[in-house]
């Protein structure tokens, strides 16, 4: 059993070496999903958008000036995702920034801000797409932030600070990758082995870029949070006071 997975991972590594282009965080590209699945993922994501947006409206009604901060927060997440990270495999990869965003701003706000970032990535760097926005938003702007936030809330105070931040960021990244693989597997089940085999297949293909990426992003987020605690304690406090961490 173990040997079998080793071979699958090796095969994926071979595939990746042929594809030397640095891999971004996974986004499903325009037109890749069949219409039915594109609609399903929009339907799943829309409730999160509605609740997140209502919360944003409430925050802004109380403090109109927070909208400027929120605008910069979305831009910050976008720019962070353009940051090149050193990755174990040698190629550079890019963080998703959703783990850090969820820790700073809360998961509901992040589901809207993250979706704006995804829309911008589709419209400004041709990464992702409009019809697949629902699916991408679900994996990156909903599941990722919620996983990060649950870990952050559940473990804070019970484990060392660095470990909590690392787990929150790395697992947010990993969950995004697992959900995307699942989305691909559901849309394109393996003719021989069905959805489960397809999931293992897509998972193995992307594991080689995504697992080192999750580790790098975890380490980076720990370092960023440490630096923020020493350099920007006042700003962090102001965020909590302003009620942005909903």
């Amino acid at each position: 059993m173990k040997r079998r997975w080793l071979i699958v991972a090796l095969g994926a590594a071979v595939l990746i070496t042929f594809e030397a282009r640095p891999a971004y965080a996974m986004h499903i590209m325009e037109g890749f999903l069949p219409p039915l699945w594109a609609l399903v993922w929009f339907a799943v994501t829309i409730p999160f958008w509605v609740i997140g947006f209502r919360q944003l409206q409430r925050i802004v009604r109380e403090k109109p000036e927070v909208r400027l901060l929120l605008g910069f927060a979305a831009a910050f997440t976008f720019v962070l995702s353009a940051l090149k990270l050193p990755s174990v495999t040698g190629s550079s990869s890019h963080p998703t920034g959703t783990g850090l965003g969820a820790i700073l701003f809360g998961p509901w706000v992040m589901s809207v801000l993250g979706s704006i970032v995804l829309l911008f990535q589709a419209l400004l760097i041709a990464h992702g797409g409009l019809t697949t926005l629902g699916a991408n938003a679900f994996s990156m702007a909903v599941v990722g932030p919620f996983v990060a936030w649950l870990i952050w809330r559940g473990l804070a105070g019970r484990a060392p600070f660095w470990l909590v931040v690392f787990l929150a960021a790395a697992l947010a990244d990993l969950s995004t990758y697992v959900v995307t693989s699942l989305q691909l597997a559901l849309a394109f089940p393996d003719p021989a082995g069905g959805i489960l085999a397809a999931f293992a297949k897509f998972g193995a293909i992307f594991a080689v870029t995504q697992i080192p990426l999750a580790i790098s992003e975890g380490i980076l987020t720990v370092l960023i949070m440490n630096a923020l605690q020493t350099n920007a304690a006042a700003e962090l406090q102001a965020l909590a006071i302003k009620g942005v961490r909903a």
Binding site: R3, V8, E19, M29, E30, G31, F32, P34, P35, A38, L56, Q57, V60, P64, E65, R67, L68, L69, G71, F72, A73, A75, F76, F78, V79, L80, A82, L83, K84, P86, L113, I116, L119, F120, A122, L123, L124, I125, A126, G129, L130, F188, D190, P191, A192, G193, A197, A200, K201, I205, F206, I219, L220, L223, I224, A227, L228, N231, A232, E235
Partner: protein
């Protein structure tokens, strides 16, 4: 890539054309690609949209090609995933099967067909999306959302983020240059440390910039709403005609194949 796309979005021949018209053309092509769902339709859409982008909107082929090339990275990996099946034994209908340790990698006629099918559909719709983003600046699209009565807060957040994006990106570039000049990216460890410093400083810069904007707006009597003048656009009749031709040929390709 970001700056190149943004630059051509502002400097192509269709810059002044109503964003609604360009969005309608791209959207219609994407919908037809998804709804008609035939390989020939996808390839035809790819050809049409590349041609419109390069000849009609006069975006250099080099740029349009680079954008679609970058998108193919994800596509290549996923299409391989669809084409090749992994199982404990090869399916009876396999075209070819290679034993790979205890596993069998195989491809059937059906799986290859699905892969080719998805490849054409994705390339066709991606070319349509690229046409839109290479001819229309994001502010025009935000303006279009305003006309379509999207919530005011969403519009404002998008407009603010779009502006903040370039401010932060310029800051990022300067910081990276400064760090590189001081051998900040000389080793793996140094790269990680520099990236962390970059990320945290960038957060502080973003926060301070937003505070500065707040002060500046308050000084000018900010009452909780940002108002900007709408731009004026022209309607390009020829583009409508091209759109009708594209739609007709895509539907024809569906019945013919």
């Amino acid at each position: 890539m970001l700056r190149i796309i943004d630059q051509y979005a502002f400097a192509n021949r269709l810059r002044a054309v109503d964003p609604l018209q360009k969005t309608a053309l791209a959207g219609l092509t994407i919908l037809l690609c998804l709804a008609l769902d035939r390989p020939l339709v996808g390839w035809l859409a790819l050809g049409w949209m590349m041609a419109v982008t390069v000849w009609y909107a006069q975006v250099p082929l080099r740029v349009a090609g680079a954008v679609i090339g970058a998108e193919s990275a994800f596509l290549a990996l996923s299409v391989i995933g669809i084409a090749i099946s992994v199982g404990n034994e090869p399916p009876a209908t396999a075209l070819w099967a290679i034993p790979f340790g205890p596993l069998w990698l195989s491809a059937t006629g059906g799986s290859l067909q699905t892969a080719l099918h998805v490849l054409s559909r994705a390339l066709g719709s991606a070319a349509a999306l690229n046409f839109l983003i290479l001819t229309t600046p994001l502010i025009d699209l935000i303006e279009l959302l305003r006309r379509l009565r999207a919530p005011a807060l969403l519009i404002e957040l998008m407009a603010l983020s779009y502006r903040a994006l370039f401010v932060l990106l310029d800051t990022l570039d300067q910081m990276v240059t400064a760090q590189t000049a001081r051998l900040g990216y000389a080793s793996w460890r140094a790269t990680l440390r520099s990236s962390a410093l970059l990320g945290s400083r960038l957060f502080i810069v973003a926060y301070q910039r937003s505070q500065a904007l707040e002060v500046a707006l308050t000084a000018r009597g900010f009452a909780g709403e940002l108002r900007v003048l709408p731009l004026s656009y022209t309607v390009d009749r020829q583009l409508w005609l091209i759109g009708v031709m594209i739609a007709a040929s895509l539907v024809a390709a569906r019945w013919w194949s």
